[in-house]
Symmetry: C2
């Protein structure tokens, strides 16, 4: 590692993730893992779902946020925190901050879904709206940080990656001998932490990501051998519209076997499938993993597959599928 | 016991319920138990939810149905099965039957919700519609039974009661030192099995039921000291419109401390509360337990409360609450 890299920019290892698990264990929820024979019959594989939609704040993001805040406490860093987020990281950071007696400000795109804006506020965060571009999100956050807040980025940070990786640590413990694991890919926090954990704890497993074709910056980056820093984003999966992080992309390059892309109709069909067979409403971003299994059937056929359902925060008024 | 009583009419004990647990253990899902500090702060008690909405077929009913079918196998009774049901018992029996290579016919009221009709069919059952009265349900079933099917009643049967009671066995194992346990009350299968299990396994706990004012036949029966056999039913809680069973009422009289009634607006508000804080969509019948905690706050204040969320089968098109 070059000497000028901060700890936040260094690639974490399994020991860092296990340390995160001990650090946040009492604060997070150990989420259930479920399977359904009728669903398996249709999909042609033995599918196990790790239900992070039932995590506190309704998404895995609470793991990373809790770890980042706990690390601030450990290092004696006082002060309020801030971030930019389409919603789930914002709500997660707000709750993690409030349980550690810190205030939290969240820069959110104006087109964020209502449920996620309310969740940030319910969990004690202050919302600051911005235009829905990556540049405006970062500019909004920079202004708040200039005012004295500690920035907690949503994914491109070792503490966040370690926190998210704890989902895969639990999963590998709850469900033995998985042949394939897969998670959605947005900014890359969940997939990078999960990949490091899977490599160490279930080395025989293949690690896949799932990404909407309309936000396939990571698949394109892997294809080109270098991270692209913009992409014409157009997807219903509001949690996956971010560009993959720098640190995250490095980890993905080294640890993820393949990022599978899925269609928009595949995502909404997958939401209907999960509602029908598991009676869970999951957000479009989460449904990408089920869409990947349906649209890339041959890749999964006959295997024992572990998929992380990343979140369940969506607006009930306009469900994008026919139940 | 009078000699002319069949085993199905005899009050089961904890040994019968533990035997049911061993019998159905591999087929059912051990459902998760979750709690949320923000919800607890609002409710004024420490609430733990046993999520039978995440049981196979989306309701606790799969426990009783699985036990009843497995008992037929044990006794060497061959043949197809039939029942009447507003939906959850029907879907549960259909799946339990099909996994044991039996056909299943389900008499359903014409006003059953669409999701539940589809669920019966998806799980391999044949639907026979009838007019939405208790008399027409029973008449429809009698006709099918006359044709040679084995009737599996939805609640008034020892095997069903034992199966449902396994939910409380698991709950008492997953969550220590509960001061109060409560479940919804419809026909009384869940509450009666749960009450027997709770009395044996957590004898210090108070056992409550929750019932809509618009279907408060059990509360009225307890008040009058004898089971009423009709009631002017008017409630959104479609799973609780049945009249309490004969065997079930006896068990409730002896083992349940109180049945708390709740309003219709309390039920829909409770659905919104569970969606907001736990990101689970639960059916109105399930929401009665949360409504009871909100509408009878003083009864629960300061206690550790275990509530069984009975099911998650509802039509998404017309959600009865504002998220």
């Amino acid at each position: 590692m070059p000497m000028n890299r901060s700890p936040a920019e260094q690639i974490p290892n399994i020991a860092d993730i296990l340390a995160a698990e001990r650090r946040i264990g009492l604060n997070i929820r150990k989420t259930p893992v479920i399977s359904e024979q009728l669903a398996n019959n249709i999909l042609g594989c033995e599918l196990w779902l790790k239900c992070e939609n039932l995590q506190r704040t309704g998404a895995f993001k609470f793991r990373g946020a809790s770890n980042a805040i706990a690390r601030l406490d450990e290092s004696g860093t006082t002060g309020d925190v801030a971030t930019h987020s389409s919603g789930n990281h914002g709500a997660a950071l707000a709750l993690a901050a409030s349980t550690h007696n810190r205030r939290c400000r969240v820069v959110m795109p104006e087109n964020s879904i209502k449920t996620k804006v309310e969740a940030v506020r319910r969990n004690g965060g202050d919302v600051v709206f911005c235009k829905p571009t990556q540049q405006d999100r970062e500019k909004g956050l920079a202004e708040i940080v200039a005012g004295g807040c500690i920035p907690i980025p949503p994914y491109d940070h070792a503490d966040i990656i370690c926190g998210q990786g704890t989902a895969m640590v639990e999963f590998s413990d709850q469900c033995e001998n998985l042949d394939i694991v897969l998670t959605p890919v947005g900014g890359g926090g969940l997939i990078s932490g999960s990949a490091i954990a899977a490599r160490a704890l279930i080395p025989a497993a293949t690690v896949f990501g799932a990404e909407p074709l309309g936000a396939a910056d990571t698949a394109l980056s892997l294809e080109q051998g270098q991270r692209v820093d913009h992409y014409p984003v157009d997807t219903i999966a509001d949690g996956l519209r971010a560009i993959v992080g720098v640190l995250n992309f490095k980890i993905i390059q080294d640890n993820v076997d393949r990022v599978l892309t899925v269609s928009e109709s595949g995502i909404t069909d997958a939401m209907a499938f999960v509602w029908r067979h598991f009676r869970m409403l999951i957000e479009p971003s989460s449904a990408t993993v089920i869409a990947a299994i349906i649209e890339h059937r041959k890749v999964f056929e006959g295997w024992k597959v572990g998929a992380i359902i990343s979140g369940g925060n969506l607006d009930l008024e306009n469900l994008p599928f026919k139940p």
